[in-house]
Amino acid sequence: MIRFDDVSKSYPDGTEAVRSFTLEAPTGQTTVLVGSSGCGKTTLLRMVNRMVDPTSGRVWIDDENVADVPPVPLRRRIGYVMQNAGLLPHRKVIDNIATVPLLTGTPKAQAHARAHELMELVGLESSMANRYPDQLSGGQQQRVGVARGLAADPNILLMDEPFGAVDPLVRADLQAELLRIQRELHKTIVFVTHDIAEALALGDQIVILAKGARIAQAGTPQQVVSEPADSFVADFLGLGRGALDLHLRETAGGTLVVDALGRPAGRLADGPGPEA
């Protein structure tokens, strides 16, 4: 469990990135912080691994105040996945993935064996182990980034717009893979995005943020869509423009579900569907 306890962050020039933010990210679940750029979501994420120290307030991991843990060992036990993967261009894929285990003194053979397992987990062919990041596609690099974040088997995974720089098809693919991996591993994930569709797709808990990291609404995907707290949330979801609206259309072949543009989004099946 990660708990933000009344944290604020202001900078010497007077800008207040985060103002009195309090939130709990439950163990084994995915909490998505979603908001437009500059709302302080990345700052919040980076407080967990002390890439940013709050000006006031505390961040807790279980019963441990992160401010009491030196940054380097703290970061080594927290997975971090960032936009554009942030891979080391001069290291092979396998060594990029094994970065943290190698830093903590795991024998090379063991670290590489673990890296191979992770490559399989994230859907990378083992033939890519000896390639360099510039020889991979954007989506593949991002998979390496996820594998690297998982290498030290951390309980916590911080993901900062990890799929923001890949094209929509690949993004959907990566999101599905992340859901699959999460069902298997049950990490405590904090995921930052500005894409509401991504938030709805991945989050167990969705936190919609306004400027200064003010919580406009926090709840399950179902709650935020069915009961938006205010017009800010409704606008952010695009409810006013019908962005999330789906309609039923009877056709000769059965009932279709069509989106706001009248394009088929799917087919109506029997029953209420699985719980997310």
Binding site: R46, N49, M51, P71, V72, P73, L74, R75, R76, R77, Y80, M82, Q83, N84, A85, G86, L87, L88, P89, H90, T99, V100, L103, Y132, P133, D134, R148
Partner: protein
């Protein structure tokens, strides 16, 4: 063209080739001075450049002072230090190191500054200590630009090391100053040609090593 063929003939003349003041000996001396000056400059400038590049502090100071160092007339420095410390290698070596430091320094800090900030940020976020960020990320990725700095320093030093002979040390400058005093222009030209040859040789060495570094680092 006449001077040219006479200069070539002078270089190829076996009478000038060997002995402690022969062409070969002077070439080695010249290379040795260059190597010494560049190594000394690296010892001073690389740690300083890495410090500036890694911490992103003191860049202004470094730019201003290396700009000032570049503006110093080398012959003036040789003469000045020579007057204080006497003839020999020390005075030209001080001048050559002063000449080489700014380029190496610029290569060292620019190499680090040119790295994508997100790469360094990711390294830190994964839990690398500052020392690990420097040695495992910044230094390897900064290598091509550092090599470029060392390369230009080396070329300047090769060209300028002729001044060592001005205060009684050796090197290819000996032929230059001797030729000047005795109005032996083919000998002067021969000296200049040898300096050019050494410069081209070193260019080749650096070209190969820069390419090898870029290939190995996947930065090209």
């Amino acid at each position: 063209m006449n001077y040219f063929s006479e200069a070539i003939a002078w270089i190829l003349d076996p009478a000038n080739a060997s002995g402690p003041s022969g062409v070969w000996a002077r070439c080695w001396e010249h290379l040795w001075y260059t190597l010494l000056a560049v190594v000394l400059a690296c010892v001073i400038a690389i740690p300083l450049g890495y410090l500036v590049g890694h911490t992103r502090r003191g860049r202004g100071l470094v730019v201003v002072s290396s700009g000032a160092a570049r503006a110093l007339p080398t012959l003036g420095v040789v003469t000045l230090v020579g007057l204080v410390l006497g003839i020999g290698l020390v005075a030209p070596m001080v001048a050559l190191v002063l000449l080489a430091v700014p380029s190496v320094l610029a290569g060292a800090y620019a190499g680090i500054e040119a790295i994508d900030r997100r790469t360094v940020d990711a390294a830190r976020a994964m839990g690398m200590s500052e020392w690990e960020v420097l040695t495992r990320v910044e230094i390897p990725l900064g290598l091509p630009l550092l090599l470029g700095g060392v390369r230009s320093a080396t070329l300047q030093v090769i060209a300028t090391a002729t001044l060592a002979a001005y205060v009684g040390a050796g090197g290819l400058g000996r032929f230059l100053f001797l030729g000047l005093k005795t109005q032996d222009y083919p000998q002067m030209l021969a000296s200049a040609l040898l300096v050019v040859a050494i410069a081209l040789l070193m260019e080749g060495v650096f070209e190969i090593s820069e390419r090898a570094a870029a290939r190995r680092l996947h930065t090209a």
